[in-house]
């Protein structure tokens, strides 16, 4: 343990710097430009924008997207420095992140999660399958993607999207200043 702490003190963790001007927008699609206002209206308190809770539902992904999402909490990306955090219950959440196509078996669970998020709520689609089902869209076992089921606000493209893209997408959509 001592060794590790010594190395850490010497090297430090190179937390990735993000400049909002430099963000590459190729992989990010924002459908609703008014997100920031919508969020601010939720509470008169402007500090609220520094506390955004995210709920993740996997409705049929191959689990690569999940690996990338959980990477957001590691010291490299550390999304909590921007005020985003993952929460355990939809009642606590502001954002629903959906990964993967929508399978028949998961459809009602996905809807229930969405219904339980208090208004105003936002939907973020992660990965190429989430929007229209990708390669799985015609299968007997899926119902395509979430585009015709939930109002999608942000889409992060990629198979799987890289953590830096997910983070950049959130920052861009919610108009945050990057630190």
């Amino acid at each position: 343990m001592f060794n590790i702490i010594k190395t850490r003190i010497k090297e430090g963790i190179k937390t990735k710097k993000i400049n909002i001007e430099d963000i590459k927008k190729d992989n990010i699609v924002i459908f609703n430009e008014e997100l920031k206002n919508k969020l601010l209206n939720k509470s008169k308190n402007k500090n609220f924008i520094n506390n955004i809770s995210v709920r993740v539902v996997d409705s049929g992904s191959c689990n690569a997207c999940l690996h990338e999402m959980s990477a957001l909490t590691n010291p490299y990306y550390d999304m909590e420095r921007f005020g985003f955090k993952f929460v355990a219950a939809p009642k606590h959440a502001d954002i629903l992140m959906v990964a993967g196509c929508v399978t028949r078996n998961m459809y009602s669970a996905l809807l229930k999660t969405y219904e339980n998020i208090p208004y105003p709520k936002f939907v973020v689609a992660i990965g190429d399958c989430a929007m229209n089902g990708g390669v799985f869209k015609d299968s007997y076992a899926t119902l395509g993607g979430i585009e015709d089921k939930l109002p999608v606000d942000i889409l992060i493209k990629g198979c799987p999207p890289e953590p830096i893209d997910i983070l950049a997408g959130l920052l861009l959509a919610f108009g945050k200043s990057a630190k």
């Binding site: 343990m1 060794n3 590790i4 190395t7 850490r8 963790i13 993740v56 539902v57 996997d58 409705s59 049929g60 992904s61 191959c62 689990n63 690569a64 997207c65 999940l66 690996h67 990338e68 999402m69 959980s70 990477a71 909490t73 590691n74 010291p75 490299y76 993952f86 355990a88 219950a89 993967g100 196509c101 399978t103 028949r104 078996n105 998961m106 459809y107 009602s108 669970a109 999660t113 399958c129 390669v135 799985f136 015609d138 299968s139 007997y140 076992a141 899926t142 119902l143 198979c159 799987p160 890289e162």
Partner: protein, 573 residues
């Protein structure tokens, strides 16, 4: 039993008489055709008497105009001989259930019932498996998606059809149930668990899976090999190299493509990098679930560094899209520059990993939580034919790299460690050994990596069959530094294949981090996929958890679960 060729001669007389036809499909694939009435006798002979392991069981639709006809195949194997026994039988609609005698067949038979409408007679638990009674019509005779006459994209109306029923209820004073899932608290895939508790200890756990059933096997039907290859990467995202490797092994066997030496080495390096990444990831989550955040975050940093290395090597953090039929895509090539970077990084990783390991082994918190938690008995492992490190932590050797060497594993020096402690800690220790072996294997490969053309075989194959693709390859070859092939440049050899006169099949297998992956690939006359059966090790190992948690407290469930760290996506397909 050591000799492959006269294996059939040494079988019991009874069994020999039951076999109507036998032949070697590939070098190590012995097919025994039998009649349906002898199925029970022959399967039990291999499973009980010869102590063979069940590796897969599946049906295939062979219907012609004159009625329904299905082939059922059971694949058995043994750790002491490099041979797969494929027991093949035909049926029109029913077959005898063997789940009582071979518990590992339980889910396989229910799967055949759902997807093909074949009835396992005498099955102890004939509830639907992946076609949930709530979401799929159960009364319609035709809801059997893998039959050939089921239209590719037919979807029945979405509404509530029925109710789910649990298998067995635990009753008594003070017994209560805790239901968890399908949507979990963390960033985890969906699955449903019902714990029956009395006080703190768990009396019974029932798992309900297949929430993410996506119908991959049906989607692949009629697709070309390269289209299917991209599908294979989406079976279980963290094991994309292992699954595509298993699929390609089968396809290359059928088409008789020989892979250049250099590509074999590179494939091994990527397979081991994936094993390393997954083991480090499990390692981190075990720290996290035991409440040891410092260790967890430190290990997540290591994991992130490995993924960054992957991205440097292949352009993808999961090493997606690097394998191709007959070789390696140019973007996955390991040239001298990358070889040196890889060596340097690995020695750094190894140093950091050893520090972490030392810290973990010195921590009393970890010892207290992990030792004597989640026992899995050897009998359970053998009955359920568990695979990979789960089996090895309970004293059962299971490592495809040793039993059925593929790629260049027969030339490498490595051990496959077997422990007898059978608890969570043993499964962690096995991971330590695996991680160290992976480091050593990659180093061995890098030292012996021959300088050769990685796509020679694929190109020769293309040369013989198509003319226009050769330009594409040489074009790609010139931009080899950090080159990522655009989709359109890729050669689609399989699309131009000469037409086979017969349907042909082969087995593809490899050892993933979780255990043996088995693919059965059958190509039709036009070299398109006719049947593709995928079996992820999770399909066998999930059922272990029901036994591992009995008697433990519910707070230990995350540890038991993470100690096996199974894939939901690979299980559900």
């Amino acid at each position: 039993m050591k000799n492959k060729l006269d294996f059939i001669q040494n079988l019991d007389k009874d069994i020999k008489e039951a076999v109507t036809e036998n032949f070697y499909n590939q070098d190590n694939e012995l097919v025994l055709k039998i009649n349906l009435k002898d199925l029970k006798k022959v399967c039990l002979y291999f499973f009980k008497d010869l102590k063979f392991y069940l590796l897969s069981a599946f049906a295939a639709d062979e219907s012609k105009n004159d009625g329904n006809k299905f082939k059922i195949r059971y694949i058995f194997s043994h750790s002491s001989i490099d041979l797969f026994i494929i027991i093949e039988t035909e049926t029109g609609g029913t077959f005898p259930s063997l789940s009582e005698e071979i518990p590992a067949l339980n889910w396989y038979e229910r799967e055949m019932k759902d997807l093909f409408g074949l009835i396992p007679e005498g099955h102890p638990d004939p509830r639907p498996l992946m076609l949930f009674p709530e979401n799929y019509p159960q009364d319609i005779q035709n809801m059997h998606p893998l039959r050939k006459d089921y239209p590719f994209n037919f979807r029945p109306e979405f509404k509530k059809y029925g109710e789910y029923s649990y298998n067995k209820d635990v009753k008594g004073d003070g017994v209560f149930n805790i239901l968890v899932g399908p949507v979990h608290a963390g960033i985890i895939e969906p699955g449903h668990f019902r714990f029956s508790m009395s006080g703190e200890p768990i009396l019974q756990l029932e798992i309900r899976h297949f929430w993410k059933h996506r119908g991959i096997e049906k989607i692949a039907e009629g697709k070309t090999i390269s289209e299917t290859l991209s599908l294979a990467e989406k079976i279980s995202g963290d094991h994309c190299v292992a699954h595509s490797l298993a699929f390609l092994t089968a396809a290359e066997k059928i088409l008789n493509i020989k892979i250049p030496e250099n590509a074999l080495y590179i494939r091994t390096i990527y397979a081991e990098l994936e094993r390393l990444l997954c083991n480090i990831n499990d390692f981190a989550w075990l720290f996290q679930d035991a409440g040891y955040s410092f260790g967890a975050q430190e290990t997540f940093v290591l994991k992130e560094d490995i993924m960054e290395l992957n991205k440097y090597l292949s352009g993808s953090r999961f090493n997606k899209d690097i394998l191709s039929l007959g070789g390696i895509n140019i973007c996955g090539n390991i040239d001298n520059l990358r070889k040196n970077v890889l060596k340097e990084k690995l020695s750094n990783f190894k140093k950091r990993y050893l520090n972490l390991k030392k810290m973990l082994l010195n921590s009393s918190t970890i010892g207290e939580r992990f030792e004597e938690t989640g026992y899995i008995n050897k009998e359970t492992i053998l009955d359920l034919c568990a695979l990979g490190f789960a089996a090895r932590a309970s004293g059962v050797p299971s490592d495809t790299r040793k039993e059925h060497p593929y790629l260049i594993y027969d030339k490498l020096h490595f051990n496959s460690k077997v422990l007898k402690n059978r608890d969570v800690f043993a499964r962690l220790l096995i991971r330590f050994y695996d991680i160290e072996e992976s480091f050593s294997i990659i180093t061995q490969c890098l030292n012996e990596l021959p300088a050769e053309d990685i796509n020679k075989a694929g190109r020769e194959y293309a040369d013989n069959n198509v003319n226009n693709t050769v330009d594409n390859i040489s074009k790609n070859k010139s931009k080899n530094d950090r080159c990522i092939i655009a989709k359109d440049d890729k050669i689609d050899i399989a699309q131009q294949l000469p037409t086979n006169s017969l349907r042909s099949w082969a087995l593809g297998y490899c050892e993933s981090q979780r255990g043996n992956i088995m693919h059965f690939v059958e190509l039709d006359e036009k070299s398109r996929i006719s049947r593709w059966k995928i079996r992820d090790p999770s399909f066998h190992n999930w059922q272990l958890i029901e036994f591992a948690v009995i008697g433990d407290i519910i707070a230990d469930f995350p540890l038991v679960n993470k100690s096996l760290n199974l894939s939901y996506a690979g299980n559900d397909l």
